[in-house]
Symmetry: C2
Subunit: 242 residues, 2 copies
């Protein structure tokens, strides 16, 4: 006989439960689409992961057999408790890595996402925890997304998007969508970053441009972009009237 016994499957992941990279990606996608609770359509998973719908049908079936998902044919999937935990662990990894790359290695914010997308499947919990400690246990990643705790708790607050904000309102940017590097570069140029304060000056009708004041400058953006920017309305503004 040669050497010791071998794991039945060669895993490329560092997950405690030994999930593969693709499995982690599915769970994360399902969590993010359904906010952790809502039932999710297989086609939406396919779209988000850029896979053929048929591939998703096969995979969710297997994940359901493993107890990670609840699944009824033609009816969408939900995360089980164990699936949810696994999803949040991966999301924590992703966001801690993003934050670490940004703060400790001065990684540009439009590139942290792709790098984290690969590292999240390879980094051990110990490494992720060391990274988090090294940068002072931040609460959010560079795009403003909340980082789940080691115990799997996350801030699930739902924010308005800039597209939902009426003229005259002021708000603070809390979070921007993270996966389009070009958009992130553009937003940074406009100073629309988490923490920035903005005022909606006017909104043209029929999906027209939204004019804002940001950091003293006036600028206009389209509603498609505005919908990617999550904000927290500020109470103390002067002209909230309609």
């Amino acid at each position: 006989m040669k050497g010791g016994k071998r794991a039945s499957l060669r895993l490329e992941t560092a997950s405690p439960e030994g999930l593969t990279g693709p499995v982690e990606d599915y769970l994360k996608a399902i969590y993010e689409i359904g906010r952790g609770t809502i039932s999710v359509a297989t086609n939406d998973i396919a779209q988000r992961l850029d896979l053929a719908p048929a591939s998703v049908s096969g995979m969710v079936r297997r994940l359901a057999d493993q107890g990670l998902l609840g699944y009824e044919r033609y009816r969408g999937v939900t995360l089980t408790e164990s699936g949810r935990r696994a999803a949040l662990r991966t999301i924590r990894r992703h966001r801690v890595i993003e934050a670490y790359l940004s703060r400790a290695l001065a990684y540009p914010w439009d590139r942290v996402h792709d790098e984290a997308e690969r590292l999240e499947h390879a980094a051990s919990d110990e490494l992720v925890d060391r990274m988090a400690t090294a940068i002072g246990e931040p609460a959010v990643d560079p795009h403003g997304a909340p980082i789940p705790s080691r115990e799997g708790l996350v801030d699930e607050t739902i924010y308005l998007s800039l597209a939902d904000l009426g003229a005259g309102y002021g708000a603070r940017v809390v979070r921007v969508s993270d996966d389009d590097p070009e958009m992130l570069r553009y937003l940074a140029e406009l100073a629309i970053v988490p923490g920035a304060e903005i005022v909606v000056i006017s909104r043209a009708p029929y999906e027209g441009p939204i004019t804002l004041r940001v950091a003293g400058n006036l600028l206009s953006i389209g509603p498609a972009l505005a919908s990617q920017v999550m904000v927290e309305p500020l109470a103390d503004m002067d002209a909230p009237a309609h």
Copy 2:
């Protein structure tokens, strides 16, 4: 048609040439066994990667087809120029990551290897370069192994092992084998680490213990352990006679 075209193979690696994790592992193993030039037996590859010999036969055939290896059935394999470059890139990644984990995140030296083993397939060249810069472009990893340059150059010096050193000789430890955590912890306890100066006090015959002075202490180790410690003899010792 849905979305854009898809890569023909889904890669889990960040390599420029798009090599998979297993492929990088094979190339690295072949480089390390054969020091980059010598022909390597497939069985040795199997042993090092903990795979069945039959699996290696299949894989080296494919790698040869891809131009990464020279291969003649029943005769072993050699790295081609392109295989060698790929191997050194992976080795650079591995060692930079080890050094970074150790210096920037205070990772214990017996655990950097396993972590790097996974991250080396996921980290982009940009990340590895940023890590290297962040810790001052070290020349060696925490175990004393030389880090290949971005251009693929490495120090190929071959050192003696402690097991080859006669009684009376002094030497400086340059490098220790890196993949057995328990052994690394033991060596650290004995202060046998890269940079340490040692003197061989005596050697018992018939594979007997080797007695050393390290950091002022006397201690004995077996030849199996001694052979894992690479040293550079010191010229200025007093009793080199016989």
